[in-house]
């Protein structure tokens, strides 16, 4: 059997984007190994080019009729495509803002990029994983690379502390998740493919058993850790405060999106039998996240902690879409994540810029920034206001769509609570904006008084400038010109067979020995015996 034949049989074309990322990763790694330290001049651009090439490759995967690949291990339907685009884009933006930061902290850039690309890879595979083993391996790939990234500034004790906390909580949550999926494996009589699990659980008459419920709870606990939903959020503030800011940016967008993708796929396709229960649990998590995230954010004095709690709150909003279970719900969730990608990363880019120039991230130090750096002030204000949901900006439309979908589906209390907490969130976002814009020159903080002259020509500053301006433009325009994004999100849901109600209920049990599998098995057997 030749290689092309094998590729065709496995339908391996579906992981072309991931293949591109692996190639980029190796290129960066080996290039840095050969060239040495000077390679940091070109490695970030290679990495970004690879990520963008992956996005282009993903464009061609859109609405692929033959989406199942690797004998059921990976599903490249439109839902996974859109999530993979979000993750790849968030990694690309993160690299833009990390070049200067990593250089300035005196650590090596190439390894940072390699680990970040691996995390992206894990996230992208997680978005499409259609089988339990695949799910877990990609979950761990994302997790372990995140721990490493968190502790990357190893001479900074805060970074060490963050990494240790993240590692310990992450390891236990992934163990719980593993317990949950192993229960699924047992209940389904030894199946690992998600679609087959549902069918087998029904066939084995265990669809109402306590085992399935325990599996559900454990799986949700694992996922809720990734998306930092409230009872599982304790790691978030400390980790966000201690780890390098670009990493926080990636964790808050890329890692979270991967978690949501996993949540949709796993819950919808493996737990239809306990659908009511998981909707209830997620609704509770959403309510808690919105309340706690937004209320505690009020009291924060550090910008990074503020954004940590705000990201918990934002996760709560996104979960509304997941809880609804309607097409509009899923679409609004994807739409919001797309917008959240730009506005949140824009916010983090601004914080990084401010930290690089002043060396602090206290909120009070931002006062009077408008006089010294208007561009930074403008971008940060736009991003924060958009996160809060102020009308002409992108975030407003995102929330509008979410709440509209919720109202349509009859989740009145959830929507009402979302509205109230949004108002709370606007308060603390505006507080920062006010601090920057309104203060008189004499009220300027020490950090701003000593603000260095704006110089974009320092090495690594250009990409940061590009990132800031890009985020500014998209955040301000994506709201008014949101139609393409809106259509994209809707199509992603419409084109995904898994999310169509007729299909989600029960899929006919697929033949365990599909022709592809049997073929390959016999070939392997021949190869081994021959």
């Amino acid at each position: 059997m030749d290689f092309a034949n094998l590729v065709a049989q496995l339908n391996a074309g579906t992981i072309l984007p991931e293949g591109i990322i692996i190639a980029t990763l190796l290129l960066v790694l080996v290039g840095d190994l050969i060239v040495g330290r000077t390679s940091s001049r070109w490695t970030p651009y290679v990495a970004i080019a690879g990520l963008l090439a992956a996005v282009v490759a993903l464009y061609f995967q859109w609405n692929n009729p033959n989406s199942i690949s690797f004998l059921g291990g990976f599903n490249s339907d439109s839902l996974s495509v859109i999530f993979r685009v979000i993750i790849a884009l968030s990694a690309a933006l993160t690299i833009l803002m990390s070049v200067r930061y990593v250089e300035q902290s005196g650590t090596s850039l190439a390894e940072f990029l390699v680990i970040l690309l691996t995390a992206t890879l894990g996230g992208m595979f997680m978005a499409g994983a259609d089988e339990l083993v695949m799910t877990y391996v990609s979950f761990e790939t994302l997790g372990i690379s995140s721990y490493l990234l968190t502790g990357y500034m190893k001479r900074d004790p805060r970074s060490n502390e963050a990494a240790l906390k993240y590692l310990l909580i992450g390891a236990s949550s992934s163990a719980i998740f593993l317990y949950g999926i192993s229960l699924l494996y047992g209940l389904s009589g030894g199946e690992t493919r998600l679609t087959a699990i549902t069918a087998n659980i029904l066939a084995n008459n265990v669809d109402q058993s306590i085992g399935l419920l325990i599996a559900l709870v454990f799986v949700i606990a694992g996922i809720a850790f990734k998306i930092a939903a409230v009872p599982f959020h304790q790691w978030t503030p400390d980790v966000y405060e201690g780890s390098p800011t670009p990493v926080v940016a990636f964790l808050s967008v890329g890692s979270k999106s991967a978690g949501f993708a996993l949540a949709i796929r796993l819950l919808v396709s493996a737990f239809p039998a306990v659908s009511e229960q998981w909707h209830f649990v997620l609704a509770a998590l959403a309510i808690l996240s919105m309340l706690l995230g937004n209320v505690v954010a009020l009291a924060q004095t550090s910008m990074k902690r503020l954004l940590a709690y705000s990201s918990i709150g934002q996760a709560g909003f996104v979960m509304i879409g997941l809880v609804l279970g309607t097409e509009a719900g899923y679409a609004s969730m994807i739409f919001y994540l797309l917008i959240y990608l730009f506005m949140n990363l824009g916010g983090f880019a601004c914080i990084i810029l401010f930290t690089l120039r002043t060396g602090t991230d206290e909120i009070s130090e931002y006062s009077g920034l408008y006089q010294k750096d208007p561009l930074l002030t403008l971008c940060l204000s736009v991003c924060l206001l958009s996160l809060g949901g102020i009308p002409p900006l992108a975030g407003f439309f995102g929330k509008l769509y979410l709440f509209w979908a919720g109202w349509q589906a009859g989740a009145y209390w959830l929507v009402l609570l979302g509205l109230i907490t949004s108002v709370i969130s606007i308060y603390y976002y505006i507080r920062v904006v006010k601090m920057m814009v309104v203060k008189e020159p004499e009220e300027m903080s020490e950090a701003v008084k000593n603000y260095p002259a704006v110089n974009w020509n320092l090495p690594g500053m250009r990409p940061l400038q590009v990132g800031v301006v890009f985020a500014l433009v998209t955040t301000s325009l994506a709201g008014i010109l949101s139609n393409p994004l809106f259509t994209l999100a809707n199509n992603a849901v419409l084109l995904t067979p898994m999310l169509q109600p007729t299909i989600t209920t029960i899929q006919p049990a697929p033949n365990p020995a599909t022709p592809g599998y049997a073929d390959l098995e016999s070939e392997t057997k021949e190869a081994i015996e021959g």
Partner: protein, 215 residues
Amino acid sequence: MNLADGVQIVSFGVLALMMLGAALGVVLLENIVYSAFLLGGVFISIAGLYILLNAGFVAAAQVLIYVGAVNVLILFGIMLVNKRQNFVPLRNAWVGKITTAAVCLGLFALLGTMVLATPWAISTAPVAGDTSTVVIGMHFFSDFLLPFELASVLLLMALIGAIVLARREFLPDALEREETQQPVLTLPERPRELASAAPGSPDRTLGTSPTQRNV
């Protein structure tokens, strides 16, 4: 009951008792070194249970990976750390202990009930036994191909990450001078002093030697 069954039951009982005893010891003993050694005992007992289940390959892999690698690393970690101070005994520590015990017992009761109440679908496929390596290999190269390959990327990254965390940094002078304006990123450690450890000098140890490059 014939001989084979008797041997099986007795060995299961011995292994299970060994495992439970060792696991309880890991959790309850005050001395962390004992806990680490007992952890090795737990792993070995689990390997024994695998053998009873006719999964020899899994048992050997368990011994190789968990006892030979994981547990040795844990022991290394414990023995290389300087224990500077004793923990101050907490007041009312018993409250925490009792709560933990209650939670654990509750969880155990819940999971135990679940295991007993669920009608498990028991596989009727014949046990692979000695041919299990072939079966595992075939799965790796057919339906579990993708996770198998992804695991290689994961391991590569873990390798790089471990080296990054363990190696000493050698900063070029230029970058260091440039850093003056950033108080937040000022680093507590002085990399220049470390740079005097010339390659090949006898004080190089396991953690750092294979990793220096770009000097």
